[in-house]
Symmetry: C2
């Protein structure tokens, strides 16, 4: 991990911008975190908009988590921000734009093309990043995963035993294969659903919630569209992580 | 209100058993409640099992609410506990037992016969009781309604402007008419659903949640059967009432 810049936010949170190989990312730790008092970590998932544009929202989540005693970290997704594109992804994104502009439904094959290569590339990167974060003396386990592309969270939760709890946002396209992977997830889950999310299939989100193998899973559905998650839903998610990571 | 017995619970909560006419009930107030510092009230709904059998659960909810600064109160439902039955209700209950023993589905007409007369009788009683509770100097508004037969909560929330927020449990039979009434409910709602509730139609519960006219409504679904509501769900409901009644 090569730290490219570091600052203290006004609430004492230490923010490090870094690169891991050619992947940029951020690490936030509460003022209290030290080798003598390591803090649990929450990986902050995010949509495919690029870290630069999503930074304000991520930093706000990070500061909220720090106030609860958590370190947080995130890395850029493959093919997003300044990271190189690949032809199949560009083609799938172009096809998505065309489909949405034409008002056509987004079919299963297009969802697969958009999401599955992203998951295949992203999950090993997040696992490598997790190795690095956990090697820092001020960061301890257990580890949570929160938000972002839900298929990435599901693959991570199913594949990496270090992930002890996950807060997922049922607000992105879900490939058919993700439903099968969801059955393999057995950790505690807190799943947010925006009831009137424009681009989201509500029934698919309910089916996905049903598919999870976890014996403790909570679905919290609130009114409003994709970006209208109410503040109190963030607090409920924070309480979920406090219950399971502390 | 005729107080038939009164005691202080060990956490200082004042419990009054009373009758209102021939209707028995309970009122719990926190130690701090006084004419100078009246506290908001939550009406505790309950299933049709009779207050005597449900008392331990109600008293536990009351003490939890008192710790958050709320008075709570409840009255016996019509045809339950020691209150007189009526022939049509006895007939509907016998038909329900027969239907469940035969493993047959509970049809719409039977649900109507079980629930609608109960709602018609109970709601005016709860409103009269509310007049009485709010006349006590140590009890103030705003008022919440929590739990119990969901059709009673919906009728009360739609009909009585003193009810400012409602926590509902989607775990009882829902007559067709209740869906129409749900559209008239506009107060903030916190709706609990047990995902694997044996006697409950999950899709009907989701449809009911969708029908509510409220712009702020949250559905919280947890794993487990009818009686398996996890403790953290109670805490989330308490936070909902704190947000809206304080």
């Amino acid at each position: 991990m090569h730290v490219t810049s570091e600052q203290r936010l006004d609430d004492g949170v230490r923010e490090r911008a870094f690169t891991l190989g050619d992947i940029p990312g951020f690490l936030w730790t509460p003022a209290s975190a030290s080798a003598c008092a390591p803090v649990p970590l929450i990986l902050l998932g995010h949509p495919t908009l690029g870290l630069a544009s999503i930074y304000p929202r991520l930093a706000a989540r990070a500061r909220h988590c720090a106030a609860q005693g958590f370190a947080t970290a995130t890395v850029e997704l493959p093919g997003c921000g300044d990271r190189p594109r690949w032809p199949a992804m560009e083609q799938a994104r172009a096809e998505l734009r065309r489909t949405l502009q034409a008002g056509e439904p987004v079919g299963d094959d297009l969802v697969d093309a958009l999401i599955l290569p992203l998951v295949d590339k992203a999950v090993p990167e997040w696992q490598t990043a997790l190795d690095t974060f956990l090697a820092l003396p001020e960061v301890g386990g257990p580890v949570g995963y929160s938000g972002g592309v839900i298929s990435i969270g599901i693959r991570l939760a199913a594949a990496d035993p270090r992930i002890a709890a996950a807060g997922l946002f049922a607000g992105s396209y879900v490939p058919r294969a993700t439903f099968e992977e969801a059955r393999k997830v057995t950790i505690p889950l807190h799943v947010l659903l925006q009831w009137d999310d424009e681009g989201n299939d509500r029934q698919a989100a309910l089916d996905l919630f049903d598919a999870f193998g976890s014996t403790e899973k909570t679905l919290e559905a609130n009114m409003g569209g994709h970006t209208g998650v109410p503040q109190f839903a963030g607090e409920a998610a924070a309480q979920f992580f406090t219950r399971h990571l502390k």
